[in-house]
């Protein structure tokens, strides 16, 4: 048994020493994932593509933290006040893809998951602007 095994999910997801990428992976694999998709113009990628991105991205990711606008949604009121957002890329079979990711952790004071509001390919996003 490792020290990590004795920690609660909230303790693991709130570990200041862990990278955002590690915490995100833990939140998705051990906690809850709320994922917004099916949006058009620009489209959010399907949830399985997000999971694959999270598995493959090497990091470290450099996120910007911004104040969260909406309190709607299942975790809107209980979610943390700040959203993270960052861009990063993955490369597989010689093909590179760069994505924009935005989301926030929930619940405030008892982290048990992550809500992903945006996960989009950067190229498509730029073409929309």
């Amino acid at each position: 048994m490792t020290i990590d095994d004795t920690k609660t999910l909230h303790e693991k997801l709130s570990d200041d020493k862990a990278s955002l990428l590690k915490v995100l992976r833990l939140a998705v694999n051990e906690g809850e994932l709320d994922y917004w998709w099916e949006r058009q113009n620009p489209p959010n990628e399907p949830p399985e593509v997000f999971r694959t991105f999270l598995k493959k991205v090497k990091g470290p990711v450099e996120a910007t933290w911004i104040e969260r606008e909406s309190q709607a949604g299942p975790h809107g009121l209980l979610g943390e006040d700040e959203c993270f957002k960052f861009e990063d890329e993955v490369s597989m079979l010689g093909i590179k893809k760069r994505y924009f990711i935005k989301g926030y952790f929930f619940n405030k004071g008892d982290r048990k998951g992550v809500c992903i509001q945006s996960f989009r390919e950067v190229l498509k996003l730029r073409l929309m602007k």
């Binding site: 994922y35 949006r39 079979l93 509001q117």
Partner: protein, 197 residues
């Protein structure tokens, strides 16, 4: 429409998620501003359970048809001789997984592999008559192949073909680093995976 939306105005609506040509219907919160739909753990569990039922009824939907050159098939046949107790489709699946999860994660090896993609050896390996094959997946394996396919915007068959061609290159090149990686990592992992299967 805004580039970013924080999904403020929501309504419960019924939606459809397609798998091949089959339709999974689910109810979920929908953003009235941008049309985004919430996919959560409840939907994920229902969808996975629906996929398992679909697999029991229509196994052919979890098959991928792919093409390999006759030279690649010969290499696979030769490799199969080292694992005579297993079905060749299991070997193909294991090679795909090892390419995506091991070779693609090792930057030094990946650079060497990609450096040989224009070589005569690779051209020889992938040339000649193409032979069509089918690979059966279980629901989770099929979802993983479809996720790679969705991410790279290529057909699922391309993930299999490219993975097999690339990983076999490790075994045929005279490069000592690739040779050592093939024997010490790929073959050892194959032994572990195939013995456990």
């Amino acid at each position: 429409m805004k580039i970013e939306c924080s999904h403020k105005d929501l309504k419960n609506e019924t939606h459809e998620r397609k798998f091949q040509d089959e339709v999974f219907k689910y109810k979920s919160k929908t953003c009235l501003d941008c049309g985004a739909v919430l996919w959560n753990e409840v939907n994920e569990k229902k969808f996975n359970s629906w996929l398992i039922d679909l697999y029991k009824q229509k196994r052919h939907l979890f098959q991928v048809q792919y093409n390999l050159s006759e030279n690649v098939i010969q290499c696979v046949d030769k490799l199969s001789e080292r694992f005579p107790w297993i079905d060749q489709s299991l070997l193909i699946r294991a090679l795909v997984v090892l390419n995506l999860d091991v070779v693609e994660e090792n930057q030094e090896i990946l650079n060497l592999v990609e450096g040989h993609l224009e070589s005569e050896d690779y051209k020889h390996l992938t040339s000649g008559a193409m032979i069509a094959k089918k690979l059966q997946f279980k629901p989770n394996g099929m979802q993983e192949i479809l996720a790679y396919s969705g991410m790279l915007k290529v057909r699922p068959s391309k993930i299999i073909e490219e993975s097999i061609n690339r990983i076999l290159l490790l075994g045929i090149k005279a490069d000592p680093i690739l040779k050592a990686f093939w024997e010490d990592t790929i073959i050892k992992n194959l032994e572990t995976i195939l013995k456990a299967a």
